[in-house]
Structure formats: C-alpha cells, structure tokens
C-alpha cells in the first residue's frame, strides 16, 4: 500500500521543486530559460514543442531550446512525437537550466524533470559537474578554456600547482583518477608539460567529477572518476563554432549527414606559439619550437527510437624540438607524445524498464624522446595500449527500485621503454620487455527507496587482474646487481594474478524537501601504476602493471555529507567530511633511474597513506550575481619504512586550506564579468638542512682546493612553500546579443593573476661558492597575464 502513495509523493516533489526552482524573485526582470529535452536513455529528443503559456519555441535537433521570458507564472508544456506530454506550473525567476526527461509512449512512468542541481535527491556523495556554458564564462589563461583546470576550483580537487598536469583528489595521487572521455580511459590528459589539458573546451559538453562514493560501475582507480562528455552534433543543420586566441585557435563543425538520423561533429585545435616565435625571432629560435594539436570527432546515429550508436574519436600530439650548438658542442632534444582514443557504443532501450549500453574502446598513449649532447645520445620510447569491451545494464522494475549490473574486460599492452644510448661509436641498446595484462570486472548494484525519505544503493564490484606472458624479466639481486638469470613467460602464462571484491554503499536520507544527509563507503583497487620522475608528467611517463613485487594499490573511503538548498533554491550548500586510507602506494627511491631500467621494480618502495578533511561548498544560483565558494580543510600524509626514518610525512600536495571563489555578474546585455580567486596552503617539499663537501682535490696551479658541495636532507616534505593565491578576472563582450543573424560572436578579455602574485613554480637554495652567499630563490611562471579570445558560432 505504501508504494503507490510514494510514487505520487515523489512526483509531486519533483513538480513542486520545479516551481520552487523557478521562483520569481524580481518583478519586471527577464530571465533566460534553457531546456534540454531527453528520453529515458538520455538521448536528446529533437524538435519537441515547448510552450510557456502562449509563448512558444521548439527544441533543436539536439533537444536544446532557449527562451527569454518575463518573470511570472507559466504553464510549461513540452510535447514530442511518441512521448508523453510534460506539463507543469512553473514560476520563472532568474536564468535557469531545465533538463526534462520525456517517457516514451509505451512507458507507464510519468515524465521526470531533472534540474542541474540534484544535490538533495541524488544518492551520490561527492559529485560535482561543470557544463560547457559555465566553463566558457570563467577567466582563462592565454585564452584557453581548460575543463581539467576548472574542476580544481571545486572543493577536494587540487591542482599540483601552476602548470602542473596533476589533479589530486582527496589526498590521492595524479594517477589515481579515472579520466574518461565519453567512457574511454585517458592515460595522459595534458599538453605542454601540464600547462593545458587535452580537452578542447569547444568539444566538451560537460565534465563531472566523483570524489567519493564511487558507484560500482566505475573501477580501476583509487581516488576519483573524472568523466568528460563530448559535445554531440546538431541533427538538422550545419553549425560551426570556434575561437582565435593568443596561442591557439580552434574550430568545430557540426554536420547532419542524414537528417535527424546521423550527425557528425569534428573539432580541432592547434597552437601556433612555434610559428609566432619563428616570425618574431627567427634567428634566435631557429628550428626550435613547440606545438600541439588535438582533434575530436563524434558520430551519432539514431537507429530508431530505442537504439542509438555513437562513435568517438580523439587524437592529440605534442611536439617539442630543441637543438643548440655552443662551443662546438651540440645539445638536442626532440620529443613527441600523445593519445589516440576511439570508441563505439550502442545504447538500447529494450523494454520500458530495461536498457543497456555496450561499448568497445581502444586507446593508445605513446611517447618518443630523443636527447643528445656532445657524443652521447639517448632514444627513449614508451607506450600503453588498451582494448576494452564493456556492457552496462539497468533495470527499473518500479520507480522505487533500480538494478544495475554489467562487466568489462580490458587487454593492456605495456611498452615500458625501449631505448638506446650512443656514446661516440658505441651504442648500448635496452629493450625493457613488453608486458601484458588482462583486467576484468563485474558489478551489480541495487538502488532502493526503503522509505520515501531513505534511499540505499548497495553495490559490489569484483575485479580481476592477471599479468601474463609473453615477456622476459631480467632478475636482479637485492644489491641491484643483475643475477644473469632471465625469467621467461610463454604467451598467456600467468605471472601475477589478483582479484578483490570492492563493496560500495551509499545512503541518502531526506530531512526535508530542501535538505538531505548522505553517507558512503567505497573500496577501490588499482592495478596500474604511473612511474614518473617529477610533478610534470613528462617526458618519462611509464605506466606499469601490478606484478609479483608491485601489489595492487587499495583505498577505502568513508564519507558523509549534509546537503541543503536555501532561500527557495537560490543557494546550494554542501558540507562533506571524508576519511581515506591508502595502501601499497608507490614511491621511487631518491635518485632512482627510470629510463631504460630493466630493474625498475627494484627502484620502488612501498608505503601507505591517509587523507581526511572537510569540504564546504556554497553556490548562488539565482540573481544577477552567481557563483560559488569552495573551501577544504584537509590533511594528506604518507608513510614509507625507507623514508623519513619510517615516520609519516606530509604528502607533497597536502593542503591544509584550499579556497576557491567563483563569481559571474552580467554588467549589461553586452557585457558579463567573471572572477576567480584561489588560495591554497603551499605544497610540502623537502629542502636541505645542511651541506658538506666531498671529492677533495687540489689545483696545483692556483693552489685552490677543489670541492663539491653536497646537500644534506633531514625530514621529508618538512618545508612549506609560500601559500598560493591569485585573482583572475574576465569580461565577456557580446556585440549583438539580440541579433537574429545566425553568425554570433563574442570576445573574452581575461586577466590571469591580476595583482601579479609571484606564486612559485618551484623554489631552490642557491649556494654561490664564489661569492660565498646562499639565497633562497623562487621561480614563477605566470605574472599578470592578459589575453583576448574571439569566439564565434553560427
């Protein structure tokens, strides 16, 4: 008897929320209402007819519509062929985005309205998303919209520092984030040594980050899921967009190949800093230069109302060339690295309550470097290729009950490094043998409304990993000397096999219509490990599989949160606490040699870590001034027996305080302003506390003592870099905002670091033996940096 009452109540809750969301604040004000009309499998419904009272508009082929309305009460009516009509009373108050899910004619369920902010009703802790529209309204450095940099403005997500590729989520490492582009894992998400991400802002529709309470369908990384959904093409007309910036330009073209059936979007971007440099200082620059390009393509095919196919492709490469001859000696450094991703997915609505998505993906990360100085040269290559099949199913027999299950299988091929060293006429070649691994997982979860207020999601993921042959492994003794023995494994022969259950649990309890509390427990296992020499994921990124020596990394996270919408949903408040433990964390021995090292595993040490903190997030969603404040108070530490005398030490990216303030304000119809302020405790680093001399000699000619100064270190990461803070502002100018013409353009004027804070990229101690002086020095990359970007679309 309870269930039907609940359905009614839930439906009423949705519609009531709709009214509250659009509550009218300011009499006489106009507001922009954007609508996204989708079906039960999330596919856009084209050409839905939309009425706000007598005002009428239509969704485009992507299910998007936008309408300017005077503030007031409206009857919203959305109808589309073969779908039930959606009707609701709404009050329009301020700029709003509505996502409306229409049920197919066969469905017995009512339509569901989903708002951009579902923090109260969605049983998912620690999730946050940023849309493409939000991304483009924020200040950018050098004109480049960067989705990955933008998510570091959210609490609990930290960047490694200026120009750092790494993203550190709740005390986890940069390799512990599952970065997905349309479901395809990305191993190296950065360009230009970490300055920019590989995600072209024009090609991105939305980016979502899950920091905790990771659902059972995701696995393989310890700390987070960063899902980037790329844009889909318009189904009925050719559209284009692009931008011309300081260092790069980009262009997107949307082409309907078969009207309302088949569409293609292609986006491309290329930097031209190399070309500018050559034009300005040809003699000085010579053949040296750097550039990157990336290209995205997405093909969407609506087979019928129940089936859709999607093909995603990405290719990006960085190229760096440097050569200089000085005093008869040549230095040369050429390197290129990049990703190629491809995936095809099939979405199917099998019955009114059963749907599935099956995908096959392929990715390929490759790095090729050549270094030379004098008579010595190095060649180094490394690569990782994945082939993955996955299938996800969802069954919703009742509105209060939903099951998800599925599985995935991945074939990994690691090329951890092939290379050669040439000195004069001698060549030393090293081929670290390829490694192969099978990774598989199956999962099942159930989401159930135990009472109208209490929702439970219980899931289990069972993951399996097997490093297999064919491969050869050179065996080393504990002293690092090769034993002369080689272990050979036949094709398919198991080398190291692991399998673990990964339970996931989420609870949601609605305190009222406007507030809820949530709690979650997550256990995650990671079988792949990134070996890198520095904060910059360049140029020696090596991904390695778990092996006999390298145990899989494990994490457990407990989290709880309070979520509330205040003042008629004008404000969203989230407070979350978390505690995370990490085991089998990998560090390299100080001074470890990573390139061409057959004994790479011998250079590793293993430890554990923990992280805990509290995150506050308050967002103002209505009114002229919108934006958010995110603050995190946290600790992250590591413990390794071989480091710091076995005592725990602060993780390099341990940040006690981390604050982000983001604000958008429309100055007029043509001008909009945005500002970002960030503040973070400085990174923890190790600095020398003492020094001594070594390698004594005497120069007889001038009777001077020859010595080499060596630094002495004591505690690991005991020194704090200065706090990082900066203020960025942007002004977006749209010359003709009300223009009826198809071609529209706008200018983004950004100033990065407006008060010219010298945030250190790194600091060092400079001991000048000739002057007998010692000074601390900081090197900073970006003082105040203005930029202008012209964006256009038609």
């Amino acid at each position: 008897m309870h269930r039907p009452i609940f359905i009614t109540a839930a439906t009423r809750l949705f519609f009531t929320s709709a009214c509250i969301m659009l509550h009218f604040f300011c009499a006489g004000q106009t507001a922009s209402v954007q609508l996204h009309i989708i079906d039960s499998i999330g596919q856009p419904i084209a050409f839905a007819s939309i009425h706000f009272n007598q005002k009428k508009c239509s969704a485009d082929s992507l299910g998007h519509a936008s309408i300017l309305l005077a503030a007031g009460n409206y009857l919203l009516n959305v109808s589309a062929v073969n779908h039930y009509t959606f009707m609701s009373q709404v009050q329009v108050a301020a700029d709003t985005i509505l996502v409306i899910k229409l049920q197919g004619r066969q469905s017995l369920l009512g339509n569901i309205t989903v708002y951009n902010s579902r923090n109260i009703t969605r049983n998912q802790l620690a999730v946050q998303s940023i849309s493409s529209a939000q991304l483009k309204k924020l200040p950018v450095i050098l004109g480049e919209v960067d989705p990955l940099k933008t998510i570091t403005l959210l609490p609990g997500i930290k960047s490694g520092g200026e120009a750092s590729a790494g993203i550190y989520v709740r005390g986890g490492g940069p390799d512990q984030n599952l970065v997905l582009l349309d479901g395809i894992p990305v191993y190296n998400p950065s360009h230009l040594f970490g300055f920019f991400s590989i995600f072209n802002g024009d090609a991105v529709n939305e980016i979502e980050v899950i920091k905790g309470g990771i659902p059972a369908e995701y696995g393989g990384r310890l700390s987070s899921v960063i899902a980037i959904n790329s844009k889909e093409a318009n189904m009925d007309s050719v559209k284009g967009s692009g931008g011309i910036g300081f260092i790069s330009s980009r262009f997107s073209l949307e082409v309907p190949l078969i009207n309302n059936k088949l569409s293609l979007i292609i986006s491309a971007r290329r930097t031209y800093i190399d070309q500018i440099a050559k034009a300005v200082a040809k003699k000085r620059i010579g053949g040296n230069g750097y550039h990157f390009y990336d290209a995205n393509a997405k093909l969407n095919y609506r087979v019928n109302k129940n089936n859709a196919l999607q093909l995603t492709y990405y290719s990006g490469q960085d190229f760096f060339d440097f050569s200089r001859t000085e005093d008869g000696r040549t230095r040369l450094f050429n390197t290129n690295w990049g990703n190629m991703l491809a995936g095809i997915s099939w979405k199917q609505q099998i019955t009114k309550s059963l749907q599935q998505q099956t995908a096959a993906v392929y990715n390929d990360f490759a790095l090729d470097s050549r270094f030379a100085f004098n008579t010595t040269s190095f060649v180094f290559t490394s690569a990782l290729k994945d082939k993955q099949l996955k299938s996800d199913w969802m069954y919703t027999p009742q509105n209060w009950l939903r099951f998800k299950w599925g599985g995935q299988y991945t074939w990994h091929q690691f090329n951890p490094g092939a290379g050669a060293v040439t000195t004069g006429i001698q060549a030393f070649k090293s081929q670290v043998a390829n490694r192969y691994a099978k990774e598989a997982a199956a999962y099942a979860s159930a989401a159930v409304n135990i009472t109208p207020a209490l929702n439970l999601i219980a899931g289990i993921r069972y993951s399996y990993f097997n490093q297999v042959g064919p491969t050869q492994q050179v065996l080393y003794g504990s002293d690092g000397v090769p034993t002369g023995r080689i272990d050979s494994f036949k094709k398919g022969q198991s080398i190291a096999r692991y399998h673990y259950p990964e339970p996931r649990l989420s609870l949601l309890y609605k305190l009222s219509l406007n507030s809820s509390i949530k709690a979650s427990y997550t256990r995650t296992i990671q079988y792949l490990h990134l070996a890198t020499t520095s904060g910059a994921t360049f140029p020696s990124d090596l991904w390695l599989p778990s092996s006999k020596l390298i145990q899989p990394a494990k994490a457990q996270q407990w989290a709880a949160g309070f979520f509330s919408n205040l003042r008629n949903n004008a404000y969203e408040l989230n407070v979350e606490v978390y505690y995370k433990t990490l085991t089998n964390q990998i560090e390299f021995k100080p001074g470890a040699l990573l390139l061409l090292n057959q004994n790479l595993e011998g250079e590793m040490i293993f430890g554990k870590g923990k992280a805990y903190g509290i995150e506050f997030f308050i967002q103002k969603k209505k009114g002229r001034l919108t934006g958010w404040i995110g603050y995190t108070l946290s600790r992250a530490e590591r413990t390794f027996n071989q480091l710091n005398n076995g005592k725990s030490f602060a993780y390099r990216y341990d940040r006690l305080h981390d604050l982000s303030v983001v604000a958008n304000y429309p100055l007029s119809k043509k001008w909009e302003a945005a500002a970002v302020f960030v503040y973070g405790t400085g990174n923890a680093i190790t600095l020398p506390t003492g020094r001594f001399t070594y390698n004594l000699g005497l120069d007889a000619e001038d009777q001077s003592v020859l010595l080499t100064n060596i630094n002495q270190y004591s505690n690991v990461n005991a020194y704090r870099m200065p706090a990082y803070h900066r203020l960025d502002v942007a002004f977006i100018y749209t010359p003709k905002p009300m223009s009826k013409k198809k071609f529209k353009s706008s200018w983004n004027f950004s100033v990065y670091n407006i008060y010219n804070r010298y945030n250190p990229y790194f600091i060092y101690l400079d001991a000048n033996e000739e002057q007998r002086s010692i000074a601390g020095k900081k090197v900073f990359l970006f003082p105040v940096v203005p930029s202008v970007t012209w964006n256009f679309r038609w």
């Binding site: 200082a281 904060g535 001074g591 004994n599 003492g690 005497l698 090197v779």
Partner: protein, 304 residues
C-alpha cells in the same frame, strides 16, 4: 601598417617572454635544524699509493657562511687487509693494520692537510706504504672522540684497457680544434661489472687528489653491455700535444652505487629533481661517505 607590425611584433615578443621565460625572485627561506654528519671520503687502489687516503670532515648548517670543508682532526684511522669469502664474510689480518696519520707535513699543502689522513711511510719508506692488492678486502676503522665508525671495500680484478684513441674532433668558439678520447676494452662475461673513468692531462699534472680528476667520475655498469667490446668516447675535448693519463677503475657495486648517488646529489636543483641523499657505505651513527676500493688499469695518450 608599419606601426601595426611593430606593435604586433612587440606584443608577440612580450607573449614569448611571458610564455617561454620563467621569472626568478629571491625569497627568505628558513630550514629546520641540522644533525651534523661525519663525512668519510676514503680510497684504496693498486697503482697510486699517494692516492690512498682518508678525508674526514663534518657537515654544517645549510646557511653557514663556510664554503670550505670542515675538517675533523685528531681521529684514529686504521686500514686492515683481509680476505673476502665470497658469501658476505671477511677474514681480517690484524697484523696488516696500518694507522693513517693526519698529513701535517710539508709535502701536503696546508690548505687541505687538516682532516686528511695518510700512511706516513709514503714519505719515509714509500715501497712499504699502504697499497691495495687486487683480490683483497680492506677494513677502515675510524674513531672520532670515542665514537667508532667502519667501512669495508674490495679490490676486484681490474679490466684491462685495450687501447686509448683520439677522434670526434670539434671546433670550439675560439676556433680551436679539440679532440675527444675513446677507451677500448672488453667487458668481462660476468654480469655486474662497474667502472669509473678518470683522466688527468697537462693542465692537471701537478694537481692532487681524486677530486682534481674529472669531477663527474662517469661511473658505468655493464647491465646493458655485458660481455661486449666497449668503445667509450668521453665528451671532454683536448688540445694537440696534451698528454692524457687515463685510469679505468673497476669497482664493486656498492662503490658504484655510492658514486652514482654522488653524481645525482651534486647537481640537485630545479623543478624536476628530487632530493637525493648521498648513499653511504660507512657504518656508525650520523655518518655518510664511502670507502672506495678501485682496481686501476692505466693508459697514456698524447694527442697528435
């Protein structure tokens, strides 16, 4: 048009400066307290008795204004010869123990004599002075103010230098032609061999100490080249008529590891470096350093 071109050029230059050139500022840095270390630099070899010595010094606070070595004087330093049994055990011949004395003699410049310990027989009875023997092990004992320290090393079988040749000439900025040297030798079939390469030449003929040879010590192993015929070209250029006194030192792996860490530790700044603590083969509280046993082979070459 010209104006625009100039402006855009200036703008692009500014952009390039911003983008390509990082800026640097001085800043006040306060590091934590430092635990002083006894620093041991000890050598024994089979060819150069005057280069068998021990240097004792002490580490200092990083911001100390003293850039010279801080010598440790009045230590009791002995070296004892012994046999290695091949499985980690040693048999020491206590009758062979030699006491090294601090070099307060006229033959060693005063600037380096403090904290430098020699076998004094070098000046009184040179043939009897401490000299390493290939195949033997050596035990270094140090007592400083009642605190004991020790280190062990061995002289492995030296690898012969087949020949030393010149080539790979280049012209430097002053338009002089310089020549590089190539060491030709056959790496033994056994894995795990490691070598240093040293050279002195006309400019350094009168200099003293291992530190007056090439600073990098250029250690190498045969991990990638076991059993191969090696032709190793060094980057340094030499003028015509230079006489190169070239040494190849065969060393044990722990000595190689120490000097490898030395090479990493001596140039350890910048964003992509990680702190490198010098490895140590010295046992005792708060000590670092290495007792380096070096089995030398030698060739001379005159650049023509």
């Amino acid at each position: 048009m010209n104006f625009l071109t100039k402006k855009s050029g200036a703008f692009a230059s500014l952009l390039l400066c911003v983008f390509l050139a990082a800026c640097e500022k001085e800043m006040a840095i306060s590091v934590g307290p430092n635990q002083p270390l006894l620093v041991v630099e000890a050598y024994i070899n089979n060819l150069l008795p005057q280069y068998n010595y021990v240097v004792l010094s002490q580490s200092q606070d990083f911001f100390s204004s003293n850039f010279q070595s801080t010598p440790v004087s009045n230590a009791i330093v002995t070296v004892t010869e012994g046999e290695y049994n091949g499985s980690g055990g040693y048999l020491w011949n206590n009758n062979s123990t030699v006491r090294l004395q601090e070099a307060n003699t006229d033959s060693v410049p005063a600037s380096i004599s403090q904290g430098l310990y020699f076998d004094q027989r070098l000046y009184s009875n040179r043939p009897a002075a401490l000299k390493g023997i290939v195949g033997k092990a050596y035990l270094l004992n140090i007592n400083v103010a009642g605190e004991n320290y020790s280190a062990i090393t061995r002289l492995v079988t030296p690898v012969d230098i087949d020949s030393l040749t010149q080539g790979f000439a280049f012209i430097n900025d002053t338009k002089d032609t310089l020549y590089r040297i190539t060491n030709h030798y056959h790496d033994p079939d056994t894995l795990g061999n490691a070598q240093f390469y040293f050279w002195g030449y006309s400019e350094t003929r009168q200099s003293f100490g291992w530190g007056s040879f090439t600073k990098s010590r250029a250690p190498g192993t045969d991990d990638l080249s076991n059993g191969q015929y090696i032709q190793l070209t060094h980057p340094q250029g030499f003028y015509k008529t230079d006489t190169i006194n070239y040494f190849m030192a065969s060393i044990t792996r722990d000595v190689y590891n120490f000097w490898d860490s030395y090479n990493k530790a001596k140039d350890n700044n910048g964003p992509f470096s990680t702190p490198v603590n010098l490895l140590t083969t010295v046992k005792g509280n708060n000590a670092t350093g290495c007792f380096s046993g070096m089995a030398l082979s030698n060739k001379r070459l005159i650049i023509r």
